[in-house]
Amino acid sequence: MLVNLISGDRPRSTILTILLLVVLVCLALAPFLFPGVRPLDTAARICVFILLVASYDLLLGYTGIVSFAHTMFFGFGAYGVALASIHMERGWDALLVGTLAGALAAAVVAFVIGLFSLRVRAIFFAMITLAVASAVAVLVSQLFQLTGGEDGLTYQIPRELTPAFRLGEVFGVRINGRILNYYLVFFTCLALFLVLLRIVNSPFGTVLEAIRENDFRAEAIGYRVVAYRTAASCLSAAMAAFAGSLYAIWLRYVGPDTTLSFEIMLDVLLMVVIGGMGTMYGAVLGAVIFVLAQNYLQTLMGAGAGLTQGLPLIPQLLDPNRWLMWLGILFVLSVYFFPTGIVGRLRTGK
Amino acid sequence: MSEPILQLDGVVTDIGRYHILKGVTLDVPRGQVTMLLGRNGVGKTTTLRTIMGLWRAKAGRILLEGQDMAPVPVSSRAALGIGFVPEDMGIFSDLTVEENMILATRSGPLDPARRDWLFAAFPPLRTFWRSEAGNLSGGQKQMLSIARAMAEERRLYLIDEPTKGLAPAIVSTMVGALRELKAQGASILMVEQNLSVARALGDRAAVMDDGAVVWAGAMAELSADPALQERLMGLSVEAH
């Protein structure tokens, strides 16, 4: 039954299995294991990013095409929820409408982009998505009457999902709407992750991998490469939008910095590469490690910069704002020396 | 008999996961035309490309006048004097015929006498000297490709199916030009499917099957023995 749930895609490494189980248990019991506002926030962020990174891996790892518009689709979902919540009455139907509208918009835009770029060369896709995503980001900050511009939007979500909603106490932890909200995020992400796992292990996923390995041959065998790539791109965009919707429901705020920025795009890229391209489980490890590092390592860097105050150059290099630089170096090194990521290493190391 | 200009000894080449050459052993004598024959897909083109260095030989040795080619990159093999006419002709279609020829001469400009000789052998080159090569017909492109190999004197010519898909009149132009090249004492290794062309030009023949040379000898011997042809290549020269 369990094997069926993960579509027969076993982790194929004891350590990996243990790590995945630890992550699953920690996330499932996060409100009880790590009480407090910040840890719960981190756990929710991890859930959302696991889904976002997994959906990106469908494109990058399984289909072999690079998109820079993934955070744009993430943003579609988030802004969908925000706009629906603002313009409709507070309630569950606003969340539902916003989520579906966001996902639909993402799939349609992904389809149009695919139509223009994938038809010719897969490499066009990377450039065109970059151009489109940046145009959309600028547009969002310009159309501030609608989107709140750089300030973003805050809105009301159903009362049952807010801290104000109290339910009583379990194991000494007060259950409130915030925790319900967390479980909404957690279970939706888990379900959608399993759906993604099903997709990549289906015949459709097998064809995608065949195309990634050799698109000429796949075409020669009779697969319509463009159609498959476009379909993968639409699916991945819709999944990213779902992740965005969940993030918007969790944060009760959307803004360009939390959903659309190029920096998040880079984070996602790094998470996929570190975790292991073309392995859905890599998304889990990549997202967990990265989000934890982002939350706690920057503090460490700040301390390091303080300690080395007197020395030349080193404080500048350790400045928490230079986080991105180390990220870039790590990124390049992992592509060279670590192309199969953590999951690949664990599997071959066995 | 002098040392062969080119020697292949147990050359093995893989393309991706496929084993194409499984141990090609072949001598190309100096000053003669050696025909490389065999059915489609037995590794003739791969042999030429491996000699040129465009595929890497995984095992075996390739010696050009005794020099081991293994560490020599493609461009240096060309600089050592190998003229190459690839299967797809390798024409630079955005460049003019003249510019294609300029690139074919590494040591300074094209010698005028040689140019006139090539013009006589391949008249269309003169007509379209300043036109873009991409606008040439298939036969004219093939002429340009061969003329490019002949733009300078080379130690060895590797020519891959120069008559493929060409009209009979153009085939005889090709044969005429190659015969002139041969008369100058050039050493040529040529892939050919058309046995009557092979007979007209070849001194020696080597027949390949399944990634190896299965028969080598005088062209005359092969063309005189239809049964041998039948056995080696599953075809024979029609009597004419």
Partner: protein
């Protein structure tokens, strides 16, 4: 020896429609200029906008040319190209600050000397960085687009952050040297001197590049290599060396573009190159990957359209280029003048 049989020349004359279709990209620029004239109405504003559109286009072309050639030659796509633009700008501006006595002096000679020195320093600097970038970042990932994109994006981030470390995180404002300030009045329209200069420089570089590519042997090798690199090798040329040369030249040109853009905007940030990359990619795509002429026309179209639309309907300007790209890809899915690949 008998002569070869006679060949009746079968060279097909191009029909009118074929020739029109070849010339069509070239015609787009004047057509756009005329449409701009009709849409704007006021000749003086139109002239000002046209000049600044051309200036912008020329600068984008200078920055894009290296990228498109590098792609054409070795099938290498460099997302880190934008970093060379930023690096060039910071280096050039540093030199200008250092020579502030020259730039502030009301002497044309000293002003020009300072700018030329700044450009030279920027081009040498970005050329060297480009050389290192090719060795360290790009070379290990030949043949894999996926890895190229990932690794060069990583390289872009590192170089941008290095600018923050060296020059600080704040944007830097600058003034143009005396001689490049002000404008010339032409009829009723005021034309900024610097923009005219940018057009002249851009045009000069385009012409020079065309001359090198058409009239010199190294240019022939580059053009042939874009079409069929394997055959260039088989004729005895070391394509890798040519490629490295082109990569360095392209990086240096990006640096030049960076200095020119810095003097145009009069402010520089570490992210300026990354922002320009978006326009550059659009230009390279609509021009046809690997085509210098295509990039030139594409750059002019983008520059002109951006300026016209910004005047007519400022909010649409942002997406006008995406619209242009869409329209051109609908017309020619490979871009306007794609290079015919051998395979």
């Amino acid at each position: 020896m008998s002569a070869a049989p006679d060949h009746s020349p079968t060279f097909s004359r191009l029909s009118l429609t074929d020739r029109l279709s070849l010339a069509a990209p070239y015609l787009l620029v004047p057509v756009l200029v005329v449409i701009g004239f009709l849409a704007i109405g006021a000749p003086s504003s139109w002239l000002t906008l046209t000049v600044s559109g051309l200036a912008m286009g020329m600068m984008i072309f200078i920055m894009a040319s290296g990228l498109t050639l590098v792609f054409g030659l070795m099938d290498v796509i460099n997302f880190g190209h934008g970093a060379f633009i930023s690096l060039g700008a910071f280096m050039g501006v540093s030199v200008l600050f250092w020579l502030s006595a020259w730039t502030d002096a009301p002497s044309l000679v000293l002003n020009v000397a300072a700018v030329l020195l700044a450009i030279l320093a920027a081009m040498v600097f970005t050329g060297v960085i480009g050389w290192a970038f090719e060795r360290v970042i790009v070379r290990p990932v030949y043949g894999s687009h996926l890895k190229q994109i990932l690794v060069t994006v990583g390289g872009l981030i590192v170089l941008e952050q290095a600018i923050h470390v060296i020059w600080g995180a704040e944007e830097i404002y600058l003034n143009r040297p005396e001689a490049l300030r002000g404008s010339i009045t032409f009829g009723a329209s005021a034309l900024e001197r610097y923009r005219i200069l940018a057009v002249v420089v851009g045009l000069a570089i385009f012409v020079a590049m065309r001359l090198v590519l058409r009239r010199t042997k190294i240019g022939l090798i580059v053009r042939a290599g874009v079409q069929n690199g394997e055959m260039v090798e088989a004729l005895g040329y070391r394509l890798k060396l040519v490629f490295i040369g082109v990569f360095i030249a392209g990086s240096a040109l990006a640096g030049l573009g960076g200095v020119m853009w810095a003097l145009y905007e009069q402010v520089i940030t570490a992210g300026m190159g990354e922002n320009m990359m978006i326009l550059i990619f659009i230009v390279v795509i609509i021009g046809g990957l690997g085509s210098i002429e295509g990039a030139f026309i594409g750059a002019l179209l983008v520059g002109l359209l951006q300026n016209y639309v910004a005047f007519l309907e400022p909010k649409v300007a942002l997406i006008s280029n995406i619209g242009l790209m869409t329209a051109i890809l609908l017309w020619r899915p490979q871009g306007m003048m794609p290079v015919v690949k051998a395979k």
